[in-house]
Symmetry: C3
Amino acid sequence: MGIALAPASRVAVLRERTPIVTTLCSHSSLQIFHGARAEGLGTLGVAVGKPPRFYEAFPLARPDRFLAVPKIADLGRHARTLRKEGAVVVPTGSFVEYMGPEAFNDLDVPVFGNRKVLGWESDREKERDWLEMAGVPMPRKFADLSSVDGPVIIKYYGAKGGKGFFLAKSPKELGDFRPTGPYVIQEYVVGTRYYAHFFYSPLSEEGYRVRHGSIELLGMDRRDEANIDELYKLGAQEGLRQAGIRPTFVVTGNVPVILRESLLPQVFDIAARIVDTSVDLFGGMVGPFCVEGIVTEDLQFKVFEISTRIVAGTNLFPSGSSYSDLVAPQLSTGRRIALELKRARTEDRLVEVLS
Amino acid sequence: MGIALAPASRVAVLRERTPIVTTLCSHSSLQIFHGARAEGLGTLGVAVGKPPRFYEAFPLARPDRFLAVPKIADLGRHARTLRKEGAVVVPTGSFVEYMGPEAFNDLDVPVFGNRKVLGWESDREKERDWLEMAGVPMPRKFADLSSVDGPVIIKYYGAKGGKGFFLAKSPKELGDFRPTGPYVIQEYVVGTRYYAHFFYSPLSEEGYRVRHGSIELLGMDRRDEANIDELYKLGAQEGLRQAGIRPTFVVTGNVPVILRESLLPQVFDIAARIVDTSVDLFGGMVGPFCVEGIVTEDLQFKVFEISTRIVAGTNLFPSGSSYSDLVAPQLSTGRRIALELKRARTEDRLVEVLS
Amino acid sequence: MGIALAPASRVAVLRERTPIVTTLCSHSSLQIFHGARAEGLGTLGVAVGKPPRFYEAFPLARPDRFLAVPKIADLGRHARTLRKEGAVVVPTGSFVEYMGPEAFNDLDVPVFGNRKVLGWESDREKERDWLEMAGVPMPRKFADLSSVDGPVIIKYYGAKGGKGFFLAKSPKELGDFRPTGPYVIQEYVVGTRYYAHFFYSPLSEEGYRVRHGSIELLGMDRRDEANIDELYKLGAQEGLRQAGIRPTFVVTGNVPVILRESLLPQVFDIAARIVDTSVDLFGGMVGPFCVEGIVTEDLQFKVFEISTRIVAGTNLFPSGSSYSDLVAPQLSTGRRIALELKRARTEDRLVEVLS
């Protein structure tokens, strides 16, 4: 028997009722609903204000119904009804960001995965501790500007959407940096970025084994970022700075990508360490997560961040990716969530995948 | 009952005969034929000179037969035969460009979609009027060089394939600009590009509703452009100019991409406005179209162009895209055209989708 | 009857036994095993040391069993057993590179395709002769530094993984070049890169006909290269050089891409010439190969390299690509190899596809 994340009382109703996969109408909701429908589960879209109309265009991904709330904070008031109906909340980046990690943590509705993980993701320091404990290769961190000895990226605390970043290709350029608040200085690793979509199942022993259960690789993408990704067309950063144009790193979309096969051992090893350490730290990061790294010219995969829930890059693959096609046909991350939920019900192990 | 685009006489034969989907052997013909075959329609490839041999390699996309003409202008002479056989011409960028909008307009064969739209697309001023009337966010237009206050792209009238473009990151660089003909000055919006493949059906009420009928989102791509897309590898624009290398924007291919889900409401709203306005202006843009925009770091989608017919980026998805997989399985834009044609026949509404 | 590559004795056992598709556990092995399994063939993974664990995560691509050898050079000792069991070795870039072309050539186990081709691929001069004989457009080659008249890329002999390359956008920049060994100077063609995945079957007459048999186009990708592909984010090359950061071209992954349809005639013509010439030179390049080129702003496809065996970019498409979907459903290059093997068995023509 595995680790119980939820009290049995919270999930009791789900033994009798078909789960209703519930998420906020944003981020990766189309895919989550699409996967749940494919597996015969119910679906509920939580909308702040009027539900977005775009679902009309996607008959296979439209939720069965909507719950419109004036503010996301009001969701808590519906907890009792949601619980009774069999709602299972699937957290996404938007969901947690809009609601706030505390309110989300207090939401008295079963959540898919371990809600404790979100506190670890949203705190840069705790995330770094976790990854260091896991022994995962990361870009270096510099204690202060004077210790910088190569290219760096400087990130302000709480900078949303990559707007407050400062890039310097050498210590010399740090002269241009005028801090406006607390910041961290990271080595800027030069290489190509990969966002690997994993799924950790504490129930399954069929995939790549970790200490409790197994992990699967379901897809990979690269984020599109504005304006950095097309900035070069206007000329060199140096000249742009003089013209008052500064690089920003706001995610606007995603492109599919695969990794050199000989790097898969590295990436699986990293993902497994992260999962195993999460079990020790807070009972385990259950369900989808993303390992985000840069591959250097020496073919080292350096992790610059992890996401501890479904990432929007998985939206590329509602009917399978170059990786998930080797696991099972038509397997999206959204569908994988639904499958895990069904299995946990059948095997009476809901407390291990819900919290 | 909707808006009749074609006189009933032009399409009468199609009530008795299976339509023969007909297009020029270029641009997106493989996909158009593939979709038509999948729906059991006939296919005819119009070739200028000898038909290209590459169809031999694609058994599922080969047209049933070819019509070889010495020049595309000669197609008109075959109009009577084509009409009798049940030909329905699917316009593509190449088709209209090679034939000329006037000759295409006069072609006495049923055309899928509203042939009047092509006059609006090929005239930059009319297209801008249309989009402004629709209230769509666009890059700014500058009346003259002295009013420029940021990065701009200067396009000569009728510059084919993005060769005659001039980029300046600031007013200062305009000193290098030596006009060689009439031109327009547009704000150069810095961000990431998305080409959203829509389909407007005046028959359907199942998708995202517009005033008459509905729209669907079937895919998304980003165009590959030579030499701009890999130019940066050689160094900064500034230095390249001195070495005699100038940026060009010639489309050479496409890569798949998806957009942040929270931007979908913006893009659907834009597409719906464009369609609704087209109904007022010229009876409606029926069938596939593409909304081409740049997403800024403030997550605004700014439309820099629209294509009023199938775009080559749809060739990425002969068996479905990240978006069309949420509409129906295996749904390409080519297949969607065939489905619309079949539905119009069944419901006796051919005059609404043909012209 | 076609050209026999293998003596009948080497392949005799395969008339009685189901072939066991055998390859090194790297590069494109997941796809090769996946395709072989889908076609009901056996699979064997050759591992140097312990087999990589990542296969656990991919139940549809896991080989039936592993053969672990201390060094790849030891594989030869297992030749007799492998032959008896019905092994057919599928060469990959890694396989040949690790084993060395000579040892691979001497391996007394049936190899899919013509093992003679590998000698032509691994020698830059011979490859260039072959392509020139085929009349294929290529970047220019400069005899010495003083004859350079535009952008060039300078490659050291035997530079592995694109690390020892030097880029210069003009003759002026050659002043910075300090040769450290023998090198070749190539024109740096500015444009967008495409890697077209072809398959040459000497058995089939159903695809695009060449002199003996036919070719198919099964996919297309663009390689991701570190650090060149994201280097621009740090600023212009010029400034980076001063900061001690030099461009490298190490392949780290792949992105899917398609080519403008009007360029397909050029690319098919090039591929056919390369195949026809290979028949004259060494009996034919059988099976998968890749034509790697740059499309210029004048829409010319210039071949900068060919790979004469399966490339890792095909890993993008285990369930079909934008191109193979027009050939047959669910057709990967790995599966195409298995199909060819089965057909050769059925038609008793194994000597034409094995060597």
